[in-house]
């Protein structure tokens, strides 16, 4: 590794000033569980590391519309949060499948997003709950739906002077009729071959009002199977309906073959697992 300077700003504003001044030469370090490996492999060679540990980005609060989650919350902290577990259970499920305890104690939710791996486990449940993200710079802030943030594998709309500060989960999207599945070669310590989240909100008559089917590792960026979602809206849940939606989802994904799985396997498993996740989503209705 090439030596880099390391600074630990104690406020978000100081961190933003540093990012403003140093731009792309500086990298934010949250847990470091992605960044350290990339630096070791010389894929990234920042001249300055800006440590976010003391920049007060690890709180959770409820506003009238959102559950607001600080970007530096670790996977372990997300797991321990009962509000997330109760309102947005698919996020909790994804954290349970994430690496093992020592990595979970370091890895952050913001790092998982900004790293932009197509296999990132928290991204599909966050998108399924219509998460928005807040990006701040010394000059201001902007928010966007998380689903629009990714532009390619490892690529996002984050600008050189920006820091991801918050993930906002709309309370109107909260649902326990949701399910996360991670397909991987073993139960722990494995990167997803495919991961997906389904989320349904039912109306009083039991008809599906909102449907989300979000998949990771089936395209360069995490994606919604929107035509499959549309098939569900306004309908009553049934095995046949879910079967048809799963077949449609398979038509929408564009997986590649890589070291973790072949394109054909991913296509096949998309169909199998979308159906399974939809069924599990309503298992407690």
């Amino acid at each position: 590794m090439k030596p880099a300077e390391f600074l630990s700003p104690t406020t978000l504003n100081d961190a933003l000033e540093l990012k403003h001044k140093h731009g792309a030469a500086a990298r934010v370090i949250a847990g470091g569980t992605d960044l350290i490996l990339r630096m070791r492999a010389q894929v990234l060679t920042p001249s300055l590391l800006i440590d976010l540990q003391h920049a007060a980005l690890n709180n959770i609060k409820v506003s009238d519309k959102y559950l607001e989650v600080g970007a530096s919350l670790t996977i372990s902290e997300v797991l321990q949060n009962t509000r997330i577990e109760d309102l947005f259970p698919a996020i909790h499920m994804a954290c349970r499948k994430f690496a093992g305890p020592p990595i979970r104690n370091r890895a952050t939710i913001g790092g998982n997003i900004v790293n932009a791996s197509p296999a990132a486990d928290l991204v599909s449940p966050l998108i399924a709950y219509d998460a928005e993200i807040v990006l701040k710079s010394a000059n201001g802030e902007r928010t966007m739906p998380l689903v629009t943030f990714f532009t390619g594998a490892g690529k996002t709309l984050l600008k050189d002077d920006e820091i991801l500060t918050q993930i906002r989960l709309p309370l109107s999207a909260a649902s326990t009729n949701a399910y996360f599945i991670k397909l991987a070669q073993r139960n722990s310590m494995a990167i997803s071959q495919l991961n997906l989240t389904t989320r349904l909100n039912l109306n009083r008559q039991g008809l599906i009002e909102t449907a989300r089917i979000v998949l990771g590792s089936v395209a360069a960026v995490p994606m919604r199977a929107m035509a499959a979602e549309a098939m569900l809206v306004g309908e009553k849940s049934s095995e046949d309906l879910f079967y048809a939606a799963a077949a449609q989802a398979r038509q929408e994904v564009k997986p590649i073959s890589d070291i973790r799985a072949s394109r054909e396997y991913r296509l096949q498993m998309t169909q199998v697992l979308v159906r399974r996740a939809l069924l599990e989503s309503i298992a407690n209705v």
């Binding site: 590794m1 090439k2 030596p3 880099a4 300077e5 390391f6 630990s8 370090i29 470091g32 569980t33 350290i36 490996l37 630096m39 070791r40 590391l49 440590d51 540990q53 372990s76 690496a99 093992g100 305890p101 020592p102 990595i103 104690n105 370091r106 139960n187 722990s188 310590m189």
Partner: protein, 158 residues
């Protein structure tokens, strides 16, 4: 160079390192604490697990400056006054290791578990060591050792 202060096994240390060296390097090469093993250097094997402010971390995946001001406990901190910690003794009595390379990290993950859960099930023990690989002994004896240590610790606390 980065100057940092860190408490290791109860002792305050001041060290100077390159900013992108790891906590594992600091412990092993600067402080001579070689109980934390240098296995994969990628967070996968768990041989380097230590407690950082009470939580398990892979020391190979923490930059030394990230641990500035923190308190660290390594496997060397388990025994007190020459007396093995019950976990260590039970590991040894139950044949929970052969080569011992994974043992330091295993012990720290199990120690952290028993701090928060005094009576874990076998499944909970397995979940706690999900990030620790043992490539020669296997896990059965180890899980039994943790159960025994937990029982001893409970008995001693009443």
């Amino acid at each position: 160079m980065f100057d940092l202060e860190i408490e290791v096994n109860g002792k305050q240390e001041q060290v100077s390192v390159e900013a992108d060296t790891t906590l594992l390097y600091l412990l092993r090469d600067k402080l001579g604490l070689t109980g934390s093993k240098d296995g994969c250097r990628s967070g996968d094997c768990g041989a380097c697990v230590v407690l950082l402010d009470g939580k398990t971390v892979n020391a190979c995946m923490v930059l030394a400056p990230q641990a500035n001001g923190a308190s660290v406990m390594t496997v060397e901190g388990l025994a007190k006054d020459g007396e093995l910690h019950p976990l260590q003794r039970c590991f040894s009595e139950s044949w929970a290791f052969q080569c011992g390379f994974c043992t330091g990290g295993m012990l720290m993950s199990c120690y952290a578990l028993l701090k928060s859960n005094s009576n874990p099930t076998r499944d909970e023990i397995r979940a706690a060591i999900a990030g620790n690989f043992c490539r020669c002994t296997g896990y059965q004896a180890l899980v039994t050792a943790v159960e025994q240590a937990a029982a001893e610790l409970r008995a001693n606390n009443v």
